[in-house]
Subunit: 286 residues, 2 copies
Amino acid sequence: MASTELTVAYPGREGAHSAAACDRLFPAARLVPLPTFSDVIDAVASGRVAFGVLPIESSLVGPVAETHDLLYESPLSIVAEAIIAVNHCLVGPGPVDLADVREVHSHPVALDQCRKLLALLPAAVAVAAPTTADAASIVAGLADPTIVAIASDRAAAINGLKILDGNVGDHPEAYTRFVSVAPYTRLDRRDGPWRTAFSFTTDHRPGALFHALEPLARHGVDLNLLVSRPIPSRPFNYRFDAVLGGHPLDPDISATLREMRSLTVQLRVFGSYRADHAGGVAAQSA
Amino acid sequence: MASTELTVAYPGREGAHSAAACDRLFPAARLVPLPTFSDVIDAVASGRVAFGVLPIESSLVGPVAETHDLLYESPLSIVAEAIIAVNHCLVGPGPVDLADVREVHSHPVALDQCRKLLALLPAAVAVAAPTTADAASIVAGLADPTIVAIASDRAAAINGLKILDGNVGDHPEAYTRFVSVAPYTRLDRRDGPWRTAFSFTTDHRPGALFHALEPLARHGVDLNLLVSRPIPSRPFNYRFDAVLGGHPLDPDISATLREMRSLTVQLRVFGSYRADHAGGVAAQSA
């Protein structure tokens, strides 16, 4: 047992999409499945594992709010991202007529991504599971052909389920973006292009967001993502979680962040990471 | 039976928070509960009901993605809003020791708003229900004191459940913003202040969002909300759903929207409505 073994925590269980993201980011690591997103954050923050991997965005349904909010509340940094193609399969213990399906188990986001399939199952109730891999495991345990899951082919294989139908998502092209988190900021700069994630709050005057974004435009910096998140203690007030193209050691980026800090109430950098273009998917500039 | 009866559809069943929003917005209407959000949209679009009411934002967990996306895809307009204080209660058929609770049923957003309570229930599994009112109904049907729900006091009363604990949300102050939708745009301008909801897409150059927001800043118009939503057919590209303070018949607002339209790829107005300050909650400017 090597004491230098690299450990990586992810939410869910074997066969989860998060596990596929771990394999891409840390091919040689020992993977540690944990029940919840906050368990993953806690395991990294306490040093029990070296890294954590969490989904942060779906190309179909948008930001994963829980990850955004846990990162904001935690002392961890984002150190890498991985974009994973999601191929939802309808899986079950054996052949079934679609009209006879009584229950479809899956993660709520996956259910939301398969609305057209669910509309074809008039007798079926959608049942929420903690992850798609949990759904596959639950359905395997019930061993009733009329109770099926939406999960990956990987989860089907691990749980001994048959693939009743492949690619059942509403959109043929669907991706989930995952981030890996660690208790330090990554400052090496080999192998770009880089992304820098940060969060800011503006004051309440008209034009406050416009003025906060001005340094980005003047320095020609890409704004790859802008997500507004509610501030729970101040109803209908928001912070913005953002991703720009570049690294804080680039002079333009350091100037941009310094100037934005002077134009905002609060600005915190979440970390920098190499953009994942492995799937051939490039994020836009806003 | 009056043929002029006003009918209003909402998602869920009697006791749902959406029903409370209907009561506020349409005190004399006949309410029509429907199973899903898209059923509500369809009922309004087909003329079977005059209005629909849907939750669009939680002050704790942010935008309701499904409502944003259904509105974007539908021909309906927003004609009113109502901000409802949410008081989550732990409800069940009878007294139970918290350590013995086996299942907590509720809507996923409500479960997400009661993380501190769930951490106190080590033996409990969280079970997702379509609405908090459905959760109360399911728990009433099971009649097992160790199976409880998070729901409103109204849902508890309707289903003959006891309130085991009141105000179990993580934050003492929590609100849900609802909108009512109709097949027409509201152009009367009595009783301000007004809000105008719209949606736009920018091209992919650096600074595109900044330049799109410039007319708002120059005309001194409040940007009350900016939510980025993914474009499913174009992974990691986004549209922005926004709310500004004012009415399109105000000269400043019509000029702002006209100028923004020339700076964006696409801009669509979702409608105008009177801001709800009934709860004493004012939205910020961004």
